[in-house]
Amino acid sequence: MIPPHGKNSRLVTAVLFALAALIARSAPAFADEPSAGIYPARVAVIAEPQASPPLVALAGESLSRINRTFNALGRLLPEEGNRIGWALSSVGADGAPFERHLAAAKLLGADLLVTVSFTGGPRVNYADLRVRAINPEFSSMDRSVRVRSRVLQNIPLKLAREIAFLHRGTPVRARVLGRTGDGLLVINAGEWNGLAPGKTSTSRGEADIRQTGMYHALIAASGAKEGDTLSIPAASGADTIIREMEDRLEKNSFRTYGLPFTLLKNQDDERRFVTGTCIVNPGGNLCLGGYGAFLSTEYLGFQNPSPATGGIIASSAAYAVQLALVPVMSRFEANFFPWERDSDKPARLQDLHVFLWCSIPLTFSAGFFDQLAYQYHKSEHLPPFYLYRDNMAAILSIIVPGGGLFYKGHRVAGWSYYFSEMGLAGYAVYNWDNGSRGKYALGVLGIIKTVELLHAYFMPAGFRFFNMEMEREIREVSLNFEMRPNGRDEAVWDLAALLRF
C-alpha cells in the first residue's frame, strides 16, 4: 500500500515531474516523427474549417466519432491530432481545402485521407464525407457520401456508420518490418488489428502468430520476407459497429421525436398508451362511434389535432356493419341483441351476431390506432414503445387485425388486413357447420394472419421524418452556397450544384 505522504510520495512526485518533462521533450518530436511503416496503415481524418459554433462543435464530434470507429475496426490507425495540426500548418493556407488536406496527408505518410465538411440548413443538416486512397492498396475504399439529418447528434453517427460500411470484408494489411534473431518476422499489425496468437492464412501462405503487441506481432511465415505486404483475414466487427450506430441513431431520434420527450414530457407515455387503448378509447367510441377514436388521441398529448376523415369513415362503417349486418340479413325481423335467439335468427346467424358484437372492441382499437398513426405522421412524433417497435407491432397485430401496421404508420395496409381478416373470420363463423367452407375460410385467415405478423414485424416504419434519420447516403441534386476565407483576409464565394452517382 502506498502511504499518502512520505518517501514514496516524494518519489512519485519526482516521477511526475520527469513524466511532464518527457512529454515536453517528446511533443515536438511527434510532429516530425518519421513513423510511416512502423505503425499499422494510417488514415488522416480532417474536417474542413467551419464558421458557425454549432458546426465547429459538430465537426469536433464527427472527427472524434470517425476516429473512434477507425480504432474499433482495426484496419487504419487514425493519425494523431497534434501530427495533423503540424502537417496542416506545414502545407500552408493556399489552395482549395481538399488539396491542402491531401498534401497534409501525404506529408504525414498516411495511406488514406478522409475529409468531412458540413452544411447547416434551416431544418436539415448535411455532411459530406470524402474518402481518398493515397496508398493504392486502399483504392477500393475511395468514396464520396453525403448524409443528412435534422438531429445534429445523428450526423457523426451516420458518418461513422459509413466508415464501418467501408470496412466490410476489408482484410488486415500488414508489412513485414524485419526479422528477429530466432527467425520470426515482425509485422506492423497486432492486437489492435484483431490479431491473436495462433495459425492463420495470409496472402503469402500460412502463418503462425506467436506473440502480439498493440500494433505489432511476431509471426512465423515461411512464404514471406522483409518488405512484403501480407493480407490477413481477421474479423473487423463492422456489422457490430453498424448495429451499434443504428441503435444510437434510433435512440437519438426517439429523444427528438418521441412522446415522452415532447408532448408528454415527464409523463408516462407507455402507460397512457395502454390506458388509452384499453379504457379511454373504448369509452370514447361507445359515446361517439368512430369519432371517439379521434377524440381519444388527445389523451396522448396531441394539441389541436385534426381528424383523419378516411379513418373515421372506415371505422364508423365497420362499426355500423357490426351492428346492422344481422338485422339487415334477417330483414329487420330478428332480435337486435345477439344473446336473444328467435325464429328469424337461426343458429348460424346467431353465431355471426355474437362474433360481430364481440369484435366491436377490435374495431374501436383499429380506429384508434389509425387516428394515432395519422397524428404521428402529421405532427412528426414517434409512438410509445418505439424502440421496441418490431416486437410491439407483432404484439398489436396478434391482438388487433392490422394493429402492428397502424402502429408503424402504414394506415392503408392496416385497414386492408383489418377488413380482410374480419371478413374472413365472419364468413368462417357463419359457415362453420356448412360443409368445409368455414374451415377453409379459417385456414385462409390463419395464412393471412401469419403474413400480417411477419409483415408487421419486418416492415420498416413508415414515418418519413424517422426514416430520414436512419437512411444512408442521399443521391439527389443539391445546391451548395458558401463563403470561406482564403487565408489572406479575403472571402471566397462558392456556388455549386452537386449530383452524386
Binding site: A14, A18, L19, E80, M214, K251, R271
Partner: protein, 513 residues
C-alpha cells in the same frame, strides 16, 4: 540560507529534468497511471472525475494494495500533461507510457445516451507479457431514465463500477517479477516474499525490430520459497538475471468483489431477519390466491415491467389453465353425480389446491421483487424485506422458483417453476388412483397405484427441492447496477439484403478488446 538551498534544489531538479534521457523511471512497484476518462458533455465530464477518483481510491485501498501491486501516478497531473500536449489518442498515450516506464495505463470514456450512460474503461499493459496489449476492457450501460439520481447516487454507482472493473482487471493481470542477482544470490525482486510453484519465463535475447516487442519463452516449472528457488533445482537448469515469473491477483479480486457486494447490500437493503420470513409465511396464502390478478396488474403493469408481464403471460398460461380446469372439474362434482373419477381429475384438483395455497407465490414474488431489486441496484432508497436468505429458502420450499425470483434471477426462477410444477403434478397423478363408482355398494373403489413409480417421482421431487433451496440460499441478490459486458466473443446469426436484393445468411463472431 534555507531559502537559497531550496532555490538551488529547484534549479538542480529542473536542470536534471531537461537533461534526463528518455529511460524508464525505476520504481519499487510497476507504475499505474489513470490517463483520463473522456467525456463529451459537462455532466459526463463531472461523472468522469468521480469515476477516476474512485478508481484511484480503490487502487490505493488496502483491499487491492496489501504488499503493493502498483505505484500510482497522480491522475490529475497526468491528465493535465497529456491534454496540454494534445496527446489524447491511444497510440500517443501508449508511446508515452512505454517511454516513461508506466506499466499499466487505464483509459476510458463516459457517453451520455437517451436514458443511460455508457461507460467504457480499459487497461493497457506496456511491459511483458503485454507489450501494449489490452489487459482488460469493461463496458457498462448505466440506466438513468426514470430514476432520481443525485451526486450521492452517482458516486455510489461509479464506485461500484470502478470496483467491478478493478476486480476484473486484477483477475486477468499478470505481473512480471524478475530475478536479480543480489548480494545474497539470485532472488526475485519483489516487495513481499513469494512462495509457490510458478512457470519461469526467459526473454529472447533481442527485441523485435523497431517494434519493442520482446519474445519470451517458458523455461519450465520451478518451486519458489521466499523468493528463491527451492531445492531440488528445476530440470531446466539455472536461473539467469532477467528471467521472470508471472503472478496474478485473483484472490484480491475475489476479496474486492465480496467487499463491495456486502457494502452495497448494507446501503440498499434494510436489515431483514427471521421475523420477516414469518411475515412472508403468513402472507403466502392470500398472495398465492390473488396472484393471477395482483401480479399482472398491481405488479408488472404498475411497475412498468412489460418484459416481466410478457414472460408471466407465456409461462403461467398452461399452469393457470390446469388450475382452472382442476377447480372447474373438481372430483366433488363427479361424486355428486356419482360418476367415475379418473386419476387425472383428482391430481389436477390437488395440484390446483397446491397452486392456490402456495404454488402461485413464486410469481407474486417475481412481480414485486424484480421492481424492488431494480430500485436497489440503482440506489433508489432502502428496500425492505429483500436479501434475506431465510426468506429465499422458505419461498423455494413452498413454491417453484420462489427463492430465485426473490433473488432477482428470472432464468433459474422459471426453470425451477416449470420443473417443480411438472414433477409435482406427475407425482400427485401417480399417487392418485382411478376411482370407479360401484353402483352395488354405492361407494367408490380406488384403482391400483404403481407405488414404486410414485415413490421414485416423490424422491425426485424432494431432490429437486433440496437442490433448489440450496441454490437459492447460496445465490446472490441481483443488485448489480447496469448491464455489463467485459470482452468475450459475441456470435450472432444475421440475415442481410445486399444491394442486388439477394439474401445473405451467415453468422458473425465479434470480439471486443
Amino acid at each position: 540560507m534555507d531559502h537559497i538551498l531550496l532555490r538551488m534544489k529547484k534549479l538542480i531538479l529542473l536542470t536534471a529534468l531537461f537533461l534526463l534521457p528518455c529511460v524508464p523511471v525505476h520504481a519499487a512497484q510497476p507504475m499505474l497511471g489513470i490517463a483520463g476518462i473522456d467525456s463529451g458533455t459537462p455532466r459526463a465530464a463531472s461523472l468522469a472525475r468521480i469515476f477516476e477518483s474512485h478508481l484511484g481510491n480503490i487502487m490505493r485501498s488496502s483491499l487491492v494494495s496489501p504488499g503493493g501491486v502498483f505505484e500510482q501516478v497522480s491522475t490529475g497531473t497526468l491528465r493535465e500533461e497529456l491534454v496540454r500536449f494534445n496527446c489524447l489518442e491511444d497510440s500517443c498515450v501508449a508511446r508515452f507510457a512505454a517511454r516513461a516506464g508506466i506499466a499499466v495505463i487505464l483509459r476510458g470514456s463516459i457517453e451520455e445516451l437517451t436514458d443511460s450512460l455508457e461507460l467504457t474503461v480499459y487497461a493497457l499493459g506496456m511491459d511483458a507479457p503485454y507489450y501494449g496489449r489490452t489487459i482488460y476492457r469493461y463496458r457498462a450501460v448505466i440506466p438513468t431514465g426514470g430514476l432520481r439520481l443525485g451526486t450521492r447516487e452517482y458516486s455510489y454507482i461509479f464506485e461500484e463500477h470502478a470496483a467491478r472493473f478493478i476486480g476484473g482487471f486484477l483477475r486477468r493481470y499478470e505481473k512480471p517479477l524478475f530475478f536479480r542477482n543480489g548480494a545474497s544470490g539470485m532472488a526475485l525482486e519483489s516487495p513481499e516474499p513469494v512462495s509457490g510453484v510458478f512457470t519461469v519465463h526467459r526473454p529472447a535475447p533481442e527485441r523485435g525490430a523497431l517494434a519493442g516487442l520482446r519474445r519470451h519463452y517458458p523455461l519450465g516449472v520451478a518451486t519458489l520459497r521466499e523468493g528463491r528457488i527451492a531445492r531440488p533445482s528445476p530440470s531446466f537448469g539455472g536461473i539467469r538475471e532477467g528471467d521472470f515469473i508471472l503472478v496474478n491477483f485473483a484472490g484480491r479480486a475475489d476479496a474486492l468483489d465480496d467487499f463491495y457486494y456486502g457494502r452495497k447490500r448494507e446501503i440498499v437493503l434494510a436489515e431483514s431477519g427471521a421475523t420477516d420470513t414469518m411475515s412472508m409465511a403468513l402472507f403466502t396464502v392470500p398472495a398465492s390466491l390473488t396472484m393471477p390478478f395482483v401480479a399482472p396488474v398491481l405488479g408488472y403493469y404498475a411497475t412498468k415491467d412489460y418484459a416481466g408481464l410478457g414472460l408471466w403471460a407465456v409461462n403461467t398460461a398452461p399452469w393457470l389453465y390446469l388450475e382452472y380446469d382442476g377447480i372447474r372439474n373438481r372430483p366433488q362434482l363427479a361424486r355428486e353425480e356419482r360418476r367415475d373419477i379418473p386419476r387425472e381429475v383428482t391430481a389436477r384438483y390437488r395440484f390446483s389446491v397446491y397452486m392456490l395455497l402456495c404454488g402461485n407465490m413464486s410469481l407474486f414474488v417475481d412481480a414485486f421483487a424484480h421492481s424492488y431489486l431494480h430500485l436497489a441496484s440503482n440506489y433508489q432508497g432502502v428496500q425492505q424485506y429483500m436479501g434475506n436468505s431465510w426468506t429465499a429458502a422458505y419461498l423455494s420450499l413452498v413454491s417453484g422458483g420462489g427463492g430465485h425470483f426473490y433473488r432477482g434471477n428470472r432464468f433459474w426462477g422459471y426453470a425451477y417453476f416449470h420443473a417443480n410444477n411438472a414433477l409435482l403434478y406427475l407425482t400427485l397423478r401417480e399417487f392418485s388412483g382411478d376411482l370407479t363408482y360401484d353402483t352395488a355398494t354405492g361407494s367408490y373403489r380406488e384403482g391400483d397405484i404403481d407405488r414404486n413409480r410414485a415413490y421414485v417421482l416423490l424422491a425426485s421431487y424432494c431432490a429437486l427441492k433440496a437442490v433448489e433451496v440450496v441454490h437459492a440460499v447460496l445465490s446472490r441478490d441481483r443488485l448489480q447496477n447496469g448491464i455489463v459486458s467485459d470482452g468475450g466473443i459475441d456470435i450472432l446469426p444475421y440475415v442481410l439484403v445486399d444491394e442486388g436484393r439477394d439474401f445473405i445468411l451467415g453468422a458473425s463472431a465479434s470480439a471486443r478488446f
